[in-house]
């Protein structure tokens, strides 16, 4: 499985070089804004999700363009290892994305390009990780089922749905629950940070596990041609 992870990085070495151009762009944004200190959480999440999304989609695109699943599945590899390696790569890409974010802040702070931006706190890390987990967990089952081209469109719809459906539900519940839902939300938000983090962590872990189980099932039964 480790070899498959390395493979996904080797085939994307060109993409990794391209992503280096992203760093000066973000530096420019940081140095030109007056709210640099406040954008730290967004910066770390954006870097992780943006770079992570590119690498997730990029690795799958290379496989698809070259129809490499045929040769990969002819090697002594289990199908489940191919799926597991893709899900593990989410965390590898998260580290790369986060490292890029920290590097940008480091350059900004050392050279005084903009206002001082704080280094990532645990909630920034959790936010970034949740973001990329959502991206990977929605992308991979669709990719294994429909292939990369259809998935790119579907994935946008699914990600939008993930953000819009809870908001819609809150609105609906709020409208018909006569303040109960609002009170519940207030109570959750006023709970200790560790409890919020735990709840968020459990929810995202469940999303990750359900997605992984779905992908395994799809890929194990797939005809590769």
């Amino acid at each position: 499985m480790f070899n498959l992870l390395i493979k996904d990085l080797i085939i994307q070495k060109k993409t990794l070089w391209y992503l280096l151009f992203y760093i000066p762009v973000l530096l420019l944004v940081l140095s030109s804004t007056t709210m640099a200190a406040d954008i730290a959480p967004a910066l770390y999440a954006t870097c992780t999700c943006f770079i992570g999304y590119f690498l997730i989609v990029g690795a799958c695109s290379y496989d698809e363009q070259n129809r490499s699943e045929v040769f990969l599945n002819s090697l002594p590899i289990r199908r489940k290892d191919i799926v597991l390696s893709k899900y593990l790569s989410i965390f590898v890409y998260a580290v790369i994305g986060l490292a890029a974010g920290i590097f940008i802040v480091l350059i900004n702070n050392i050279f005084g390009l903009g206002e001082i931006v704080r280094y990532p706190a645990s909630k920034d890390l959790l936010g970034a990780l949740c973001g990329i987990v959502i991206i990977g967990a929605t992308y991979y089952p669709l990719y294994f089922k429909f292939g990369g081209i259809k998935t790119r469109l579907l994935n946008v719809i699914v990600i939008m749905a993930i953000f819009l459906i809870p908001a819609g539900l809150v609105w609906l519940v709020e409208r018909y629950s006569q303040g109960t839902a609002y009170n519940l939300l207030t109570r959750i938000l006023s709970s200790p940070d560790w409890l919020q983090a735990l709840v968020i962590g459990v929810v995202f872990l469940m999303i990750f596990v359900v997605s992984l189980a779905g992908s395994l099932r799809i890929y194990e039964n797939k005809d590769i041609s």
Binding site: N3, I6, K7, I10, I11, K14, Y62, Q65, N66, R67, S68, E69, V70, F71, N73, S74, L75, P76, I77, R78, N221, K222, D223, I224, S225
Partner: protein, 288 residues
């Protein structure tokens, strides 16, 4: 255990195509040619053996092991070459090797290097810059560098010029000198097999036509040439396929002795090639 590959009652259904009841056996140390026209089911069968496609029914044993239950063990000992390049075009020969090698416990870098030298393949050259023939050779190098006991080749010679084809076939003939190795080679270019194959398995429209020793097939099948007046409807049914023109007929018989008995010296009987056998079987009866 001499059976390297044992396929029993293999079936796979797609919308518009079915592979039905395919059975054959390949023994250690032999080359089996897997022939049939395009769309006959050759690639489907190979992909079922490689467990790329899920079979609907039947059984596939490789080295006496089930190709699904013992997938890793089986694939460790198979070298594969497909009709198209599936490697990453953007990578160099060496980078591609670095990706593949760790998956095989018996990978041998010295064998890999020897074949690269022999085929004049530059390790630094990108796969997208290799010609079709060189891509095929690279694929063959990969398949030979982990001491595979069974080589599975799907249309390796299609699209190659005659020199490349001949070179590839020479290499295969050389490999088979090692009696522990076996080769399963699919092709629609039957001339590739005339000299080198020991067994022939012929599929057409998803059905098995025959799977036998090549010498037996060549002894049994023959082309019968004669005047149209010799034929009536009953006699026509004796042939696998007939090609008729106003000058006479040429028919393929699967029983040369019976043809001699039926026609005596009134017809000319010639040896059939594998191409004749495939052509007449696929076409059936035709009139020019």
């Amino acid at each position: 255990m001499n059976e390297i590959l044992d396929v029993r009652n293999l079936a796979k259904n797609y919308p518009g195509f079915s592979l039905n009841n395919i059975s054959f056996t390949l023994e250690k140390g032999y080359i089996m040619g897997f022939i049939g026209p395009n769309g006959a089911g050759k690639t489907t069968t190979i992909r079922l053996i490689m467990n790329l496609l899920r079979r609907d029914s039947g059984e596939i044993k490789v080295f006496g092991l089930d190709n699904i239950k013992d997938e890793l063990e089986v694939k460790e000992r198979i070298g594969f070459v497909y009709d198209e390049n599936h490697f990453y075009n953007e990578l160099s020969v060496l980078e591609m090797k670095k990706i593949i090698a760790p998956f095989y416990s018996r990978w041998d870098d010295s064998v890999f290097k020897d074949y690269l030298d022999r085929f004049e393949l530059s390790p630094r050259k990108k796969i997208k810059d290799l010609s079709r023939g060189m891509k095929m050779k690279f694929s063959l190098v990969i398949s030979l560098s982990h001491h595979a006991d069974l080589l599975i080749l799907d249309e390796p010679t299609s699209g190659l010029d005659p020199i490349f084809r001949s070179e590839l076939l020479d290499i295969l003939a050389e490999i088979i000198q090692d009696e522990n190795k076996s080769i399963f080679l699919s092709t629609h270019l039957t001339t590739d097999l005339d000299k080198m194959a020991d067994y022939i398995t012929f599929v057409n429209r998803g059905e098995l036509v025959f799977s036998e020793a090549k010498d037996t097939i060549m002894e049994r099948y023959a082309l019968v040439k004669g005047e149209n007046e010799l034929l009536d409807e009953e006699l026509k049914r004796e042939f696998v396929g007939i090609n008729q023109s106003k000058y006479g007929f040429t028919g393929l018989t699967r029983d040369v002795h019976r043809a001699r008995q039926l026609f005596g010296s009134s017809v000319l009987i010639e040896k059939a090639t594998l191409e004749d056998i495939m052509l007449y079987t696929v076409r059936g009866n035709s009139h020019v």
